[in-house]
């Protein structure tokens, strides 16, 4: 009996502990809150592992001849961060932006959509996704004799040929003479 009166009296003295949020714009947000998925267009290779692991089927990847588009629909995303976990390029991250309320008209417009354009191969001219320099540096960390900028500009099959030529001691294929007919 006296216990709850004491608690009530203390509450009365201490005043409200309410967060003034909807009346003022800012509120407390944890740094690691899983709020919204963002894709880094510089890193995404379009491998599709995120689409494969997505629990809610919120991710779609459309591949075209000269580009690919990764689309994440926030209205289906359950913020489980499995895509972030499995992305080999660490291209997907979750930002602590939880302002997700939107009117019904915008239902199909709350998207994270990135289109990644392809570059033509310097040797054969085939459209290909250029590997980011940082990744390439990591891949060729023990091969100091390779010109990374050159490797970056050619497609995987051309890279194989290049490698074979180098092993055989032949000069590299001339970039001026593409092997594909115009």
């Amino acid at each position: 009996m006296a216990g709850f009166l004491k608690v009530l009296f203390r509450n009365l003295l201490e005043g409200p502990s309410t967060d003034p949020f909807p009346l003022v714009p800012e509120t407390f947000t944890p740094d690691r809150l899983r709020g919204r998925v963002v894709v880094d267009a510089d890193l995404c290779m379009g491998c599709g592992i995120c689409k494969y692991v997505c629990v809610a089927g919120a991710i779609n990847i459309t591949k075209r001849e000269d580009s690919h588009t990764i689309t994440i629909w926030h209205n289906a995303c359950c913020r489980c961060a499995a895509c972030r976990q499995y992305c080999p390029m660490k291209a997907i991250s979750l930002v602590p932006d939880w302002h997700s309320a939107h009117p019904q008209e915008e239902k199909y417009h709350v998207l994270e959509q990135k289109t990644i354009p392809y570059q033509p191969c310097a040797v054969c001219g085939k459209m290909m996704r250029t590997v980011p320099s940082a990744t390439l540096k990591k891949l060729y960390v023990n091969n100091h004799d390779v010109d990374l900028e050159h490797v970056r500009s050619i497609c995987p099959s051309c890279r194989q040929l290049e490698d074979a030529r180098r092993s055989a001691g032949l000069p590299p294929a001339a970039p001026e003479a593409p092997a594909v007919e115009q």
């Binding site: 009166l5 009530l8 509450n11 009365l12 201490e14 005043g15 409200p16 309410t18």
Partner: protein, 322 residues
């Protein structure tokens, strides 16, 4: 002329508009203080007015299987009963009450009208939850009317015995009770009446239907019971009736136990009356409401029969013996 004056008293002061303003102010303050006690901010003070405004703009739905007349009439009955009731409350130093004869008994008969209206509405709504709410309302009403009768009787007998010079007697005029107390000291300070006053403090949450006695309108158990099918203006009328009832029961408590006045100026006395009502409400309704859960109906019934009835009986016996 008297009739006209009576109607005026029922409509403007102290019934009707005045009681409504005070009742809504009390309800808003009640919610605000309750929020503060729970370390929240709470709604603005005018929230009851806003709620009523909102309910008036909503559409009215009447269940297909309901008894339409009774369903529509119930909130009106509750509201009208309380508006009349408020006119009987004497505001010491300002207003003498509408009737000077036996109004304590009239009040005793009028006070259960909102509960009866709620039962009527609940049973007319043809909803099973309404029926459960009806039976619960009935049980709790029987439980809290018993101590109320004993409290009223002990007050009436104490004053009546004193006025008739120690003989057997009972005074049922609220005005005479108030006047007697202004001469002989308030009943709330009388040791004989303290058990009755405590019983009245317990009766208040029971009759107002707030925790821990909000069993008939328990929203988590019987989805607001008798009020389930009401919406829009009809529900607003129930809320207005409840606000009037707040004023009536608190005013009755002040008139019976602490009717003292300060000075002769009517405005000061009016404010003093409102302040006393407010203190009574904070003690008996707000603090209890913000700290307790809900009783089961059988627990509430047993509690009412054991504690307030025994306390009131105690007072009654003391008055009878002394």
């Amino acid at each position: 002329m008297d009739t006209l004056l009576g109607i005026l008293h029922m409509c403007i002061f102290p019934g009707g508009i005045f009681a409504l303003v005070i009742g809504f102010f009390f309800k808003g303050l009640d919610r605000r203080v309750e929020a503060r006690l729970q370390r929240r901010v709470g709604p603005p003070l005018i929230q009851p007015w806003l709620d009523t405004a909102k309910l008036l703009t909503k559409e009215t739905l009447i269940p297909k299987t309901a008894c339409t007349q009774a369903f529509l009439l119930a909130p009106v009955v509750g509201f009208a009963g309380m508006a009349v009731c408020a006119a009987f409350i004497p505001v010491p130093g300002v207003f003498d009450g509408l009737s000077n004869m036996g109004d304590l008994l009239v009040l005793f008969y009028l006070l259960p009208i909102p509960a009866i209206a709620m039962m009527m509405g609940g049973s007319a709504s043809s909803s099973p939850f309404g029926a459960v709410g009806f039976s619960r309302e009935m049980i709790i009403m029987l439980a809290y009317e018993t101590p109320l009768l004993m409290i009223l009787l002990s007050v009436a007998m104490l004053v009546g015995k004193s006025m008739s010079g120690g003989d057997w007697g009972a005074e049922f005029s609220l005005l005479k009770i108030v006047e007697w107390q202004q001469v002989n000291g308030s009943l709330g300070y009388n040791p004989v009446m303290i058990p009755a006053f405590i019983a009245y403090l317990i009766f208040l949450p029971g009759t107002m239907g707030v925790a821990p006695f909000d069993i008939p309108e328990a929203e988590t158990e019987v989805v607001e019971g008798p009020l389930l099918e009401y919406g829009g203006p009809l529900l607003a009328l129930f809320h207005v009736g409840s606000a009037l009832k707040t004023f009536v029961v608190l005013g009755l408590g002040v008139a019976m136990f602490f009717p003292g006045t300060i000075g002769d100026f009517w405005l000061v006395n009016l404010i003093w009356f409102v302040v006393k009502c407010l203190v009574l409400m904070l003690i008996s309704l707000t603090v209890v409401k913000s700290a307790t859960g809900r009783y089961r109906i059988d627990q509430a019934f047993r509690f009412f029969i054991l504690v307030p009835t025994m306390l009131a009986l105690c007072s009654l016996l003391l008055v009878w013996l002394i």
